[in-house]
């Protein structure tokens, strides 16, 4: 039971949330200790070997704009890059990249090693040490996995244990206590957290089987290629000109569907064996077949887990049926009759903490200095985890430095939407980010993530000089480009000449067209070319809409800025129904705006609270 000198921040877990938390706190000057069981599982991708996707890509860009790791890591290790929703407007374009799991993890580890403030602690945390209502450190498990190991002092602790708390994996009827396959779950830590009185839930998530690349004849499938001019995730990337790999796609068929239906009783997802609630948006194969019986086929993608790795990830084929059935299902897929299953798909059930227990800084409302980020808060996805870890790390550092908390609003970033949604509504099912969650979607685009956030990152010390310089240059370019569009006249269809800004407001004229015509010239630099142009295009194409969104934000500001004191008493307030009081007491919103977003809280209730607050 020896103690070492105190850390400023201890991060428990080195997944996507943990690494961003450690990175940001360390960059901001804190001494950070990051605890993990094995150095091999840093920034591990247990499921889809990919980063980004609709709305997730937005999160990555924002993490990068603030100075986080994810964007840098994926740009240098991505295997295939695609911009999704290309046929729609710039607000919903979202980048996605296939990743080489191992190389990605190695890159993250490398980046972290460059940060001297980060110390690696190999071991597993068994208990949180709390004095009064503040966290004071952690206690590791001893070598036999019991409590009573080494104690580490820390001013703040960030828990990012993902799916490990009382994790239970299911393959058919085979259950095994595990956080991920082959990795033992965290039991003591879960009990330690429970003892602190947090509200819990249980969720589940699933992953598909992995196939052996060598047993598949890829020529039989449709090819899925990356973009010709791939768009990077990071604002620091100057070029993405590595060769891209090819992925393949196919479809399920009636045989597959019948097999699932015939064996549905053996699926722990359907026979009640699993109690946790699963993600609606990431449905297992069982879900897809049972809930959409009219659909004749579902798409399946074959994605390599890494260059030089033999595992092929079968995207869209997540399941927890018994191993033997899984093999039959794989073989029923057209073209995969001879495929070898290297690893069965499985479902994992795990404990999570209701994020209504947290402030938007991810600090616990009851225990000072204790933060929670990532899947432990009920989210799904690496990007959602990373975004939380970043904010938690920043705020732990701010607390250590005794500076103001750092909170992004819903109108600032998807990161802000995420924090507000989680802490206001809690989770009834795994939370995944969608663009529809952002009411200011037109403002929160991938091209302007830096324009929105990099200054904030600089203010708190997370954005270094190199990035800052690059950003300032971009800001200048943006302003100059906007002026150029406003002042240059171009010719349009009927031989008329109008200002470029006017021409752009027509739906049939794109910036590309104008540039091709040659009368308009804009500045851009390598790597940022696309964003330079898009920011300008969106500014004009969306201008009417943006004005309205900005007006709406101002309107909403009134409610958002009305803070509700910590010890505000709802019970007994006349005019508030018992249900409303319950919801308010459960969530304890920090602002009136947040209160208005709690399910079940009526506008009338908001008006009543506002009236009380203004007296």
């Amino acid at each position: 039971m020896t103690t070492t000198s105190a850390f400023d921040v201890i991060v428990i877990g080195a997944g996507h949330a943990g690494v961003e938390a450690a990175w940001s706190a360390a960059t901001m000057g804190c001494r950070v200790g990051i605890c993990t069981l094995s150095a091999d599982t840093v920034a591990h991708m247990p499921c889809n070997p990919a980063i980004g996707g609709t709305a997730k890509g937005h999160l990555v860009r924002e993490i990068d704009a603030l100075g986080g790791l994810m964007g840098l890591a994926i740009d240098t290790t991505g295997l295939q890059f695609k911009l999704l929703n290309r046929s729609r407007g710039p607000a919903v374009w979202s980048p996605r990249a296939q990743a080489d799991k191992r190389v990605y993890a190695a890159r993250v580890a490398e980046l972290m090693r460059q940060q001297p403030n980060i110390e690696w602690v190999l071991g597993r945390v068994g208990r949180l040490l709390v004095k009064g209502y503040s966290v004071v450190g952690v206690e590791l498990e001893d070598d036999s996995g019991n409590t009573g190991g080494q104690e580490l002092q820390a001013t703040t602790v960030i828990v990012t244990t993902g799916t490990f708390l009382n994790g239970l994996t299911h393959v058919g009827s085979e259950q095994k206590a595990a956080g991920r396959v082959g990795e033992p779950p965290s039991h003591h830590l879960a009990e330690s957290l429970k003892a602190l009185g947090f509200r819990w839930g249980r969720l589940k998530t699933g992953t598909p089987p992995r196939l052996d690349r060598r047993s598949i004849d890829f020529s039989r499938f449709d090819q899925s290629l990356g973009d010709d001019s791939p768009v990077p995730f990071s604002f620091m990337t100057e070029s993405l000109d590595r060769p891209q790999i090819v992925c393949h796609s196919l479809y399920t068929n009636q045989r597959v569907h019948d097999l699932v239906r015939d064996n549905i009783q053996r699926s722990p997802l359907y026979n009640g064996q699993i109690e946790g609630i699963g993600p609606r948006y990431c449905p297992s194969l069982e879900d897809k077949v049972m809930r959409f019986p009219d659909r004749e086929r579902h798409q399946v993608l074959l994605e390599p887990e890494g260059v030089g790795m033999d595992e092929i990830y079968v995207n869209g084929f997540s399941m927890s049926l018994p191993a033997a059935i899984q093999e039959d299902l794989v073989h029923a897929l057209p073209g995969l009759q001879d495929a070898v299953v290297m690893r069965s798909g499985y479902a994992v059930e795990y404990d999570f903490v209701q994020p209504t227990e947290l402030r938007r800084t991810y600090e616990s409302k009851t225990i000072r200095g204790l933060f929670m980020a990532g899947q432990i808060n009920g989210t799904s996805g690496y990007e959602e985890a990373a975004a939380q870890g970043l904010i938690a790390g920043i705020n732990a550092a701010q607390q250590v430095k005794e500076e103001a908390p750092f909170v992004l609003e819903r109108s600032d970033a998807y990161i802000g939407v995420l924090a507000d949604d989680l802490t206001t509504r809690g989770c009834l099912e795994p939370y995944r980010m969608f663009t529809s969650r952002a009411e200011y979607r037109l403002l929160l685009r991938i091209d302007n993530a830096d324009l929105r956030l990099t200054s904030k990152g600089r203010d708190i010390g997370l954005v270094g000089d190199r990035r800052w310089k690059r950003f300032q240059e971009r800001q200048v370019r943006f302003k100059r480009n906007v002026r150029a569009v406003e002042e240059t006249t171009v010719s349009v269809a009927e031989g008329k000449r109008v200002r470029a800004s006017q021409a752009l407001s027509r739906p049939d004229i794109s910036l590309e067209t104008l540039l091709e015509q040659g009368e308009l010239r804009l500045e851009s630099v390598d790597g940022c070319h696309a964003f330079d142009l898009w920011s300008v295009e969106a500014e004009f194409k969306y201008s009417g809409y943006l004005k309205r969104q900005n007006a709406n934000i101002k309107q909403a500001q009134k409610l958002e800025s009305l803070a509700i004191p910590e010890r505000f008493v709802y019970t007994g307030m006349p005019g508030l129904s018992r249900e409303v009081v319950e919801r308010l007491n459960e969530t304890r919103p920090e602002t009136l705006g947040q209160a208005s977003r709690i399910a079940g809280v009526t506008a009338a209730a908001v008006a009543i609270i506002a009236g009380r607050l203004s007296r």
Binding site: N85, G89, A91, V92, R441, L442, G575, A607
Partner: protein, 456 residues
């Protein structure tokens, strides 16, 4: 806005004497205060009319017999605890009861405060709250019916249905955005356009009836003009001899002896008689002429009376010219006497003018005038069953929704991408929320409820 955690009191029946007067208490202390001013030997039983006596102050001497009814929350008008005291309708007594409750801790309610609390507590939405005011203020049976319909939820339901369709479209468009690659198509352009068209049509249908509805709610004005002795007063009296609108004195407005509000097919029409304005001395006459001019300018309909038994004079002609561009009915009086002129010969009378020759003492003729006036007042709005929309605030918001939807339709046709369409659809939904008051705007609420009477 209003302070909300105290208990309010007011006389809920109109001022003046009557058989019954009601004092209403609402708030968390309603029962306690009632106990303090009533001579009860036990607590009021919920929803049980209890005969008891009321004191002039807490613990003071009894002054009246009352029937007290306690409505425990949330099943009351305001959603709070409510106690209603029905006493004799003497203004003096009622005021004493109110004073007693104030001494026991109540506060005099502000205009509309009871209904506002009802709205806040979800007993009714904003549209229904407004209907209460309309119901109370109604002066024709049709007006009352329109208001009751609104209170009953006809408008609320209509808006709800439209909002539901918009929401459904939004959900499908969002799904298309969220799952771009998985081959799930939830809304193609054709479907979106046809959905939007259907929604826009529903809103337009509501607006179609709105003109008529507004007329029902707000009424109209008809000014009778003509030179002296053509029969204006006779016409006025004859028209007023029919169904009258039941107009009561509202404190703060003056009753003009030259006006009377009649019920013209359910629409309250205020008749303005300019008779006698000419028959005064010069100084006053100039004023009178001025006033008549003013009345003509603001009137919605003109009834111009011309004497058919005498040739037209300068005064007649100048009135004809002055009212040329107004909505007018030309009544040629004294049909029973030989006519000295015909309308076709007079250039100031257009073929489009509605002209009718009457004998003002003949009831059938008067009925014809009444009918023509009714038609003129309603203009192009064909008579239909009670329309859902009567209120200008609703009309303006629906117009805004209509233009937003038209814009969305235009965008959809131009092939604009989903996220832009969704912004417009979101705006439309927000407008519907404004109508029903789901998202209250402080200033708007204040304006609405301040126009109520105290005690409502």
């Amino acid at each position: 806005m209003f302070v909300r955690d105290d208990t309010i009191v007011a006389i809920s029946t109109p001022p003046g004497q009557g058989g019954i007067g009601v004092v209403r208490l609402s708030g968390q202390a309603a029962k306690t205060i009632a106990n303090a001013v009533l001579c009860l030997d036990r607590d009021l039983k919920p929803r049980y009319a209890t005969l008891t006596q009321v004191r002039d102050s807490p613990g003071g001497r009894p002054i009246d017999q009352v029937v007290a009814t306690f409505f425990p929350r949330p099943n009351s008008y305001t959603g709070e605890d409510v106690v209603e005291l029905s006493g004799h309708g003497s203004p003096v007594l009622l005021r004493q009861i109110v004073s007693a409750t104030i001494a026991a801790g109540a506060r005099l309610a502000e205009p509309g405060e009871f209904t506002f609390r009802g709205y806040l507590n979800g007993q009714m939405d904003l549209v229904q709250a407004e209907a209460v005011a309309d119901l109370v203020a109604s002066v024709t049976p049709l007006q009352a019916r329109a208001a009751f319909d609104q209170l009953d939820g006809t408008m609320t339901d209509a808006i709800g249905e439209i909002d539901e369709s918009v929401f459904d479209l939004i959900v499908r468009l969002e799904a298309s955005l969220d799952f771009p690659d998985e081959g799930y198509h939830f809304a193609n352009q054709e479907t979106v356009i046809s959905n939007l068209q259907a929604i826009a049509t529903s809103v337009k249908n509501l607006l179609d009836g709105a003109g008529h509805g507004r007329l029902i709610r707000e009424g109209s004005q008809a000014v009778i003009v003509g030179k002296p002795n053509v029969g204006k007063s006779t016409l006025f009296n004859q028209l007023c001899g029919g169904p009258r609108a039941i107009v009561t004195d509202v404190p703060g407005t003056t009753r003009d002896l030259l006006t009377e509000t009649i019920d013209l097919s359910g629409i309250p029409v205020t008749l303005v008689d300019t008779a006698g304005v000419r028959e005064t001395s010069d100084r006053v006459e100039a004023e009178g002429v001025q006033r008549t001019r003013g009345a003509i300018d603001s009137a919605t309909t003109i009834v111009l009376v011309l004497d058919g038994s005498k040739p037209l004079e300068l005064d007649d002609r100048s009135l004809l010219v002055e009212t040329q561009s107004d909505r007018r009915l030309i009544v040629i009086s004294k049909r029973d006497l030989p006519s000295e002129w015909v309308p076709a010969d007079e250039t100031e009378i257009a073929t489009s003018d509605d002209v009718t020759a009457v004998c003002l003492l003949d009831n059938k003729d008067v009925a014809v005038v009444r009918e023509k006036l009714s038609f003129l007042v309603e203009g192009n709005d064909a008579k239909r069953d009670v329309p859902a929309v009567t209120n200008l605030r609703h009309i303006e918001l629906l117009r805004r929704a209509d233009s937003t939807l038209e814009q969305a339709l235009k965008s959809a046709r131009a092939g604009v991408t989903e996220e832009l369409l969704l912004t417009e659809l979101g705006d439309a939904r927000r407008t519907f929320e404004e109508i029903s008051g789901v998202r209250p705007d402080d200033a708007v609420l204040r304006r609405i409820f301040e126009s109520f009477c105290i005690g409502k």
